[in-house]
Amino acid sequence: MNRLSRLYFKKTVKTFFLAISLSVLSVGSGCSRVTDTSDVKASGAPVGGFKGYAATQKVIATRLFEGARDSFNFNPYLGYEGSLLKLLGSFENLGSTTSFENSTPNAMNMLLWQIIFSGLSKDIAKSCGDGSLVIGESLKYNYNSSFANRLGALCMWPEAKVKNEANLLNLWLAVQGFDAPRQEFDSWRDFFLSPDSPYANSTYQEAIKAMLMTMFLTPDFLLEH
């Protein structure tokens, strides 16, 4: 297989497996996490929908950036096609009433989230040490000092001195906050710190991108609960 074919194969396989995991995510997000055994829980009915693109933008803007509350948005990652954001959970004034539409995870909207967060995670990972996120040619958002420091602490990945629980916990809390139960962090931490982790020896861009994506694309981050 020549070099171009190998690159193409790599991309195709990557996309294929991400699509599979997103499909599982779509199904998995409908599952309940309560520990008691009620009949209702056994039915697997979904218990939460998306918080919506607007609320998710605000969470990211508050946790990561300085002064971007009203400016940060996902549009650049969807080709500035603003109407696609409506598919990610939004309030619609339908005639004389308001309702929250498109809140249920499905393959289409999960694909859109994947596109958004893939782009965002990659750009954040690229910006390691810069102090700000730059999207495209000129769109710039300054990180708040806390996130800048926590991100910066991982910029020397895969060096052993940065591979520790404290650095990972700091990044997790910066992005996820305390929305997810503690056990989620434990599993996530174990995955990235394991010597057998596929990111054990990857570049910092790849590792940080994966860390961010695996935080963004979780029910605790995306869903209202």
Binding site: C31, A54, S71
Partner: protein
């Protein structure tokens, strides 16, 4: 090959991370390696601390319009405070005002993804535009009232000031003469508009002297009127302010009818209308120098929105139940006769979605199809009298009171006999002692239960004083702060609503604001709010002292309130005991329902009986027997029965 394996592994791990969560032994095993209380969390941490920290962030997002705790905030201080004090602290943040405003718009069915948009009225200057006049001025009055400890129930008020939510922009330099100030530029354009008015008045004087039809005048009027509008808009004053203060964009319907239909216009009367409009344009001059008008205008919160009270500059503000945008969304046609507007009011203020449940008809009624047929009357008995409040409001909500015509949104014009027939839709028979059959109807058979009125002002009074509205408001607050897909115990919601009912009785204007904050606090301290990943069919909160029964919580309180007095274990009327819900001999969850032969009925048989009893139009059999049940409570039980019926065994209801 290595990449292939990596992708498979990554896929599996992501799937495990994000699929069904359980605190089973596999995850416990991994967390046991590092017990929570031994792991650093900017200090020591524990599961309780983690949960409290999560609650603080969630509460902050709820109270600060989506903005949680930022890294720069002093979280340690918050962690040391009890939760109710944290809530009080967060409520002192100006962003809480955005939350209240957002909730008010949610309640009125007007919420958007963003409460405001950012504009730049000058270079390097950002300002918010809330667009509140086109949405709901009452929402802003009410939100500000909470902030200032005033009357939250301004949400139901007819009266409000004029909020200027279009921003004052700097006049672009290329529009002004060299060295000309914004002020002088504006005054020049106002003077040009006044010159146009003088032209029109001369034209009218000629018409009055010479006579003639209206249509020829209309052409010239249209041209000069456009010029007036252009000159006024060139001032770069917010257009809404110009339109509201001068009335320049409000069509005069006498003129419209003359120009498009009759060709007859009272020129003397119309001259008076124009002269008054001209006087108002003159008063725009005073706004140029108003101390609160700054250019460029910067709005950082709802408190900064420029407010003009009734009487400022001699202007009368025009209070109305709906904004222009809302009237536009609620058209009145020559066939719907305001029913769309009525349905909106019932759904929005009373949480009555007009679930069609047959009703017992009154012994005397209007004798039209909707009143004769029980299945039609099930909605129309409420909708038609409510629609009567809007009988004088036609196209875009224009007021046609005392004009003896009605121009509808579908362009149909009723006058003469057609108009009289339209108005007679709501005329009450003389024996009833009132002029109109207009009001909020709770019972088709007992008029004493109903609240009658005449005008839209009466409607707002009914809304303001009804306990159903306070219950509905509380229900919507629950949906807003806790989620709309969740089931809530009606008794709990009702107990929260008592805060508003008590506030009303106190007579203290600030009591309603305190009640609003108290309800918000209770919602944020509720089990539902704290619960991670709640089951949407399960209730987590109950009224103080309420016994949790085996009945499904969605209807438990309502069944206990309306049915169990006669249908309980002690004397189950008709063999039906509605006080317990459990698996019966048939294997289904059901009430105890024993027939004459002592046999437990199937779920479908029981539910068929329940549906019939709740919706019969025979008042001798309508349940609860000889007792009033609020329509919204009946509807809630009915809808639950319908849903449960769909899971019953074939042979019953589907």
């Amino acid at each position: 090959m290595r990449d292939f394996v990596n992708y498979v592994f990554l896929t599996l791990v992501i799937s495990v991370l994000t699929a069904c969560y359980q605190t089973d032994s596999s995850l416990q095993g991994s967390s046991d390696k590092k017990p929570l209380d031994k792991v650093s969390l900017d200090g020591e941490s524990s599961e309780d601390l983690w949960a409290k920290r999560a609650w603080i962030d969630k509460a902050a997002r709820s109270l600060r319009y989506g903005e949680g705790i930022s890294p720069a905030e002093d979280v340690d201080s918050l962690m040391s405070m009890p939760k109710d004090e944290i809530i009080e602290y967060l409520m002192k943040d100006l962003r809480f005002l955005d939350t209240i405003l957002d909730f008010n718009l949610f309640f009125l069915g007007l919420k958007n993804d963003s409460l405001y948009r950012i504009e730049r009225p000058a270079q390097n200057v950002e300002s918010r535009n809330y667009d509140i006049m086109s949405l709901s001025p009452a929402s802003l009055s009410s939100a500000r009232a909470v902030w200032e400890n005033g009357d939250y129930f301004k949400l139901f008020s007819f009266e409000h000031p004029f909020y200027n939510d279009e921003l004052f922009y700097e006049v672009p330099t290329d529009r002004k003469s060299p060295g000309q100030s914004d002020r002088d530029y504006r005054l020049d354009n106002i003077n040009l508009a006044l010159d146009n008015y003088r032209q029109l008045l001369v034209l009218l004087d000629q018409r009055i002297e010479q006579g003639g039809g209206a249509k020829e005048f209309c052409e010239k009027f249209s041209e000069i009127h456009s010029s007036i509008e252009n000159n006024l808009y060139k001032t770069e004053f917010p257009r809404q302010l110009i339109n509201n203060f001068t009335g320049i964009s409000t069509p005069d319907f006498d003129l419209q009818i003359a120009c498009f239909f009759s060709d007859t216009l009272d020129f003397v009367k119309f001259k008076g209308v124009l002269a008054r409009q001209m006087e108002r344009v003159v008063k725009l001059v005073a706004i140029v120098d108003h101390p609160n008008v700054s250019t460029p205008q910067v709005v950082k919160s709802p408190l900064d929105i420029l407010t003009f009270q009734n009487g400022d500059f001699g202007i009368e503000s025009k209070p109305d139940i709906f904004s222009f945008q809302s009237w536009f969304k609620l058209p009145n046609s020559s066939t719907n006769f305001n029913r769309k507007r009525a349905a909106y009011v019932l759904k929005t203020y009373f949480c009555d979605d007009l679930t069609p449940i047959n009703i017992a008809l009154p012994s005397s009624h209007a004798g039209n199809k909707h009143a004769d047929d029980p299945s039609c009357a099930s909605c129309h008995y409420k909708m038609d009298p409510m629609a009567g409040f809007f009988r004088n409001r036609g196209i875009f909500g224009s007021n046609f009171e005392n004009k003896n015509i009605m121009l509808f949104d579908d362009q149909a014009l009723f006058q003469g006999e057609k108009y009289n027939s339209y108005m007679n839709t709501w005329k009450a028979p003389s024996e009833l002692g009132r002029e109109w059959n207009v009001g909020y109807i709770r019972s088709a058979t007992d008029p004493k239960k109903n609240s009658y009125g005449d005008s839209i002002a009466d409607l707002m009074k009914i809304i303001r004083t009804s306990n159903e509205v306070k219950q509905c408001l509380t229900k919507r607050m629950t949906e807003y702060f806790l989620g709309s897909d969740q089931v809530y115990d009606a008794g709990w919601v009702s107990s929260l609503a008592k805060n508003f009912e008590a506030a009303d009785k106190s007579g203290d204007a600030g009591a309603s604001s305190q009640a609003f904050k108290e309800v918000v606090k209770k919602l944020l301290l509720s089990n539902t709010f704290v619960k991670q990943d709640p089951e949407k069919n399960q209730c987590y909160d109950y009224a103080p002292g309420e016994e949790v029964s085996s009945l499904p919580c969605e209807v438990s309180f309502l069944i206990n309130k309306n049915c169990v007095q006669c249908h309980s274990a002690n004397g189950a009327a008709g063999g039906l005991d509605l006080s317990t819900w459990s698996k019966r001999g048939t294997g289904e969850l059901n009430f105890s329902h024993i027939d004459r032969n002592g046999i437990q009925q199937t779920k479908s048989q029981t539910f068929e009986k329940l549906i019939t009893s709740l919706s019969t139009n025979d008042k001798e059999k309508l349940m609860p027997l000889n007792k009033f049940m609020a329509p919204t409570e009946r509807a809630q039980i009915y809808k639950w029965i319908e849903r449960e019926s769909s899971t019953a065994v074939v042979g019953g209801l589907k």
